[in-house]
């Protein structure tokens, strides 16, 4: 497992990190890295703008708990939790 963290984010990283699937509705966070060097599917997420430094907002879980809905760069995206689990983010307070 390789976890990538950019140099510039290193110093600011005092707050606890979490993965996207663990966020709460309404919470915002900055993407700070990925677990398991990005797989094919997650690459599509990168192309859609979920890159390191982007702000995500957790909107809600689907009625049956999975997938989740997040907002990134002004549009809404739904993705399954197992994919969200490989994206690391730092909550903004």
């Amino acid at each position: 497992m390789s976890t990538f963290k950019p140099q510039d984010a290193q110093s600011a990283r005092a707050v606890a990190e979490l993965t996207l699937d663990l966020m709460r509705p309404g919470e915002e966070a900055v993407i700070s890295g990925y677990h398991n060097d990005v797989e094919d599917e997650a690459l599509r997420l990168l192309e859609m703008g979920l890159i390191i430094g982007s702000v995500v907002r957790f909107i809600k879980k689907a009625p049956f708990g999975d997938p989740i809905q997040i907002r990134i760069r002004g549009f809404d995206l739904s993705l399954r939790r197992n994919l969200a689990r490989s994206i690391i983010a730092t909550p903004i307070r």
Partner: protein
């Protein structure tokens, strides 16, 4: 001037040297097809969810001078790295790898202006391919509403392309865009990639230099183009493979490794290299050119609507309620216009009888044409209602929410929310449904979706259900809410869905191999339907239905009339005396035995008796059997077939309506009714499950690329239908429902 482009100025097109080919490229749901329609005057399908267009569509732009402009609309793309079949189709047209056609001469990149950053990602990739580009900034109406301003001149200067702001939906800016297209071709500029000057881009391009050098030796001309391709090669092994096949593979591999190592040293996973480079430039561009003036979010209203529609409890409830209401109202509301059409057709039959001289021609017109075609046309209002509701679901953005809610369930049977659109569209017709499966990234998912889509009850089955339910199930309301005929109709749809779910489970466990799937889908903002296009969709469906009735069904009705009328029995030439309704009814029932033997010894009757033993265990008589055979041309043909047979059989000169005829029909030998509610049920179940549609089999062949799947599909669906009908009828008979 770029020599590559010079060659393209006079493309070797089949429409002559003065036809320019303009392709529309952009993110899914950015309004490409809306723009295409506005530019060409055509009326292709639009909808508010990603993945409406799944094939290449072409049309002409009317131009003032002699030059012709062909406009090509393509499926949406997030990047030039295709993941699904529809994306591959678009990328192939762009990169010129589609075998049959030359590269386009000009690209219109459509960007959703409320979603600029993501749109620009694709834009920069396309720009790096070296095309002349016009950037159409669409949805400008929403930009103003949401309180920000885009510095269009600044953006145009920075990106070095002409930008035309448009509102495709309202046809605003279309003239300006046309003008830009016309003037563009006469002043073809030098191809240029996007040169980014932010520090990260510079750093990355330094690292890539050796690779860029190699690429320039191997055919890439511009600096920016080489940089872009270098990043693609480093990021995507598939692209590297393509280049390696052009020779010198070892050297390339070495260079790629070298660049990747250097990237890792800087803390950049190589697969992210291209994305990071482009977004860092885009962020800078947007920061300089997009101004948030007032507060306001594109997603605000949608979030409020979603707080109800995808609510933890209300969401699923509302979803079921919406679908149930649609099916019920198709049945209840459509009955009024249906009765009117039925009356009109009966009147037409009577007029023909009154004004034509008696003889074979009159019989052909009254019993064959008017009865056969008319019996099907009655169902037009239901088709109209069904397509109207589906169009509204598609246009508002609710379909994407259904996918969001249903993904969890579909995951259980190995599919994903991506299958929702193909499966729901199959309620209208399996053919567009099966084509919509192109948007599914995972091959295994896609195949399974294709194979189970025909279980969704399409609009061609609706007339069969309605006829049977209307004739054999009473209008009972339970507690003022539930309506028995509506419930039976709904349960036919549910039966199809349940069988589809079970089949999908079996297929994914034991039959179709492949990796399991994931689910990523954009949830578009809610929009009001574009009524004009809703109308067009409904009108098209209705026109097709009527045209079908005028062609296939007319032809089959005529053939059937001959088959059912000849050979004539020599002895029996006495016609019943024409008279009032009561008298007709009497003579008809008295004559049953005699006339029946006439039709039973006709060609149709002979054929029917051959297959009767096979279908008897399902509760069907030979007339239904003939209907089952002809229904393989199109499902609703069973209705015209039976209408024709009954009208020929009913030897008097008035046309009888099918519902009355099947209610009255009795077996000649035993005098028992041919149709009972149980027979009706058995017949409906057969229609839910059997694949009686040649066009579906043909499209499955096309989409899967082999005959294996359509044949397998036909066989298993047929066996399933037979077994299920058999079970319904036999078990029902044992329980005493016969």
């Amino acid at each position: 001037m770029n020599s590559d482009l010079l060659e393209k100025t006079v493309p070797p097109s089949k429409s002559g040297p003065t036809c320019f080919r303009v392709a529309i490229v952009g993110n899914p749901n950015s309004g490409k097809t809306s723009l295409f329609n506005a530019l060409t005057g055509l009326k292709h399908k639009i909808g508010n969810f990603p993945g409406v267009t799944v094939e290449r569509i072409s049309g002409m732009i009317a131009s003032p001078d002699k030059v012709a402009y062909e406009l090509i609309d393509l499926p949406g793309l997030y990047s030039l790295m295709p993941r699904s079949l529809d994306e591959r189709i678009a990328v192939e047209v762009l990169t010129g790898s589609a075998d049959l056609e030359p590269r386009p001469d000009l690209i219109i990149v459509v960007a959703d202006a409320t979603n600029l950053q993501r749109s620009l990602y694709l834009f920069t990739q396309v720009a790096d391919l070296g095309y002349p580009i016009i950037l159409a900034l669409n949805m400008m109406d929403l930009v103003e509403k949401q309180g920000y301003r885009i510095n269009i001149d600044g953006l145009a200067r920075r990106l070095d392309v002409p930008i035309v702001p448009v509102i495709a939906k309202n046809k605003k800016g279309i003239q300006e865009l046309k003008q830009a297209v016309f003037s563009m071709d006469h002043t073809l500029q030098e191809a240029r990639g996007t040169s980014f000057d932010d520090s990260e881009s510079l750093e990355l391009s330094q690292i890539c230099l050796p690779l860029m050098h190699w690429l320039k030796q191997h055919g890439i001309k511009s600096e920016a183009g080489a940089f872009a391709e270098a990043l693609r090669i480093v990021s995507e092994p598939e692209i590297a493979e393509k280049w390696k096949q052009r020779g010198d593979g070892d050297a390339l591999q070495h260079l790629v490794e070298q660049v990747r190592t250097k990237f890792s040293e800087r803390g950049i996973p190589y697969r992210q290299a291209e994305v990071r480079y482009r977004y860092s430039a885009i962020d800078q561009i947007c920061a300089q050119n997009v101004l948030q003036e007032r507060k306001g979010q594109r997603t605000d209203v949608s979030e409020k609507i979603d707080s109800v529609l995808t609510h933890r409890v209300f969401g699923p409830l509302i979803m079921v309620l919406i679908l149930a209401t649609i099916f019920q109202s198709i049945y209840v509301w459509a009955s009024v216009p249906m009765d009117a059409i039925e009356g009109l057709i009966a009147w037409l039959g009577d007029q023909a009888t009154a004004f034509m001289p008696p003889g074979a021609l009159r019989e052909l017109i009254v019993d064959g044409v008017i009865a056969g075609v008319g019996a099907v046309l009655i169902f037009l209002p239901q088709i109209v209602f069904l397509f109207f509701f589906l169009a509204i679901l598609e246009d508002t953005g609710y379909l994407a929410r259904v996918a969001f809610i249903m993904d969890r369930f579909l995951a259980k049977v190995g599919l994903s929310g991506r299958s929702v659109v193909p499966l729901l569209s199959s309620f209208a017709c399996a053919i567009p449904g099966i084509m919509a499966a192109r948007t599914i990234q995972n091959n295994k998912d896609r195949l399974i979706t294709i194979l189970v889509a025909p279980f969704m009850s399409c609009s061609a089955r609706l007339p069969v259900y309605t006829l049977m339910i209307g004739a054999f199930f009473p209008d009972i309301w339970f507690g003022g809410i539930f309506y028995l005929p509506g419930l039976i109709l709904l349960s036919m749809y549910l039966l199809g869905v349940i069988v589809a779910v079970i089949s999908a489970t079996i297929l994914q466990k034991w039959v179709v191999q492949g990796r399991s799937t994931n689910f990523i889908m954009e949830l578009p903002i809610y929009r009001a339907p574009v009524w004009h296009f809703v109308f067009v969709r409904v009108y098209d469906a209705a026109r097709l239905f009527v045209a079908n009735a005028g062609k296939i069904i007319l032809a089959i009705s005529i053939i059937l009339w001959f088959l059912a009328s000849y050979p004539k029995k020599q002895t029996d030439t006495v016609a019943t005396t024409p008279g009032g309704a009561e008298q007709v009814e009497n003579s008809a029932s008295k004559a049953v035995g005699k006339v029946d033997s006439q039709i039973r010894q006709s060609y149709a009757g002979q054929l029917g008796r051959v297959i009767e033993p096979v279908i008897e265990p399902l509760g069907f008589d030979w007339k239904i059997g003939i209907g089952l055979i002809t229904s393989f041309a199109a499902r609703e043909v069973i209705i015209s077939t039976m209408a024709t047979i009954y009208n020929v059989e009913d030897a008097d000169e008035t046309s009888i309506d099918l519902r009355t005829a099947i209610k009255k029909d009795v077996y000649a030998d035993t005098g028992k009714p041919v149709f009972t509610p149980l027979v009706a049920l058995s017949l409906m179940v057969f229609f839910v499950l059997a694949c009686q549609c040649m066009s579906t089999l043909a499209i499955v062949r096309k989409e899967t690329g082999s005959w294996k799947w359509p044949i397998a599909m036909f066989v298993y669906m047929f066996i399933l239908a037979y077994v299920a009908s058999f079970a319904v009828f036999q078990v029902g008979s044992l329980l005493g429902f016969a």
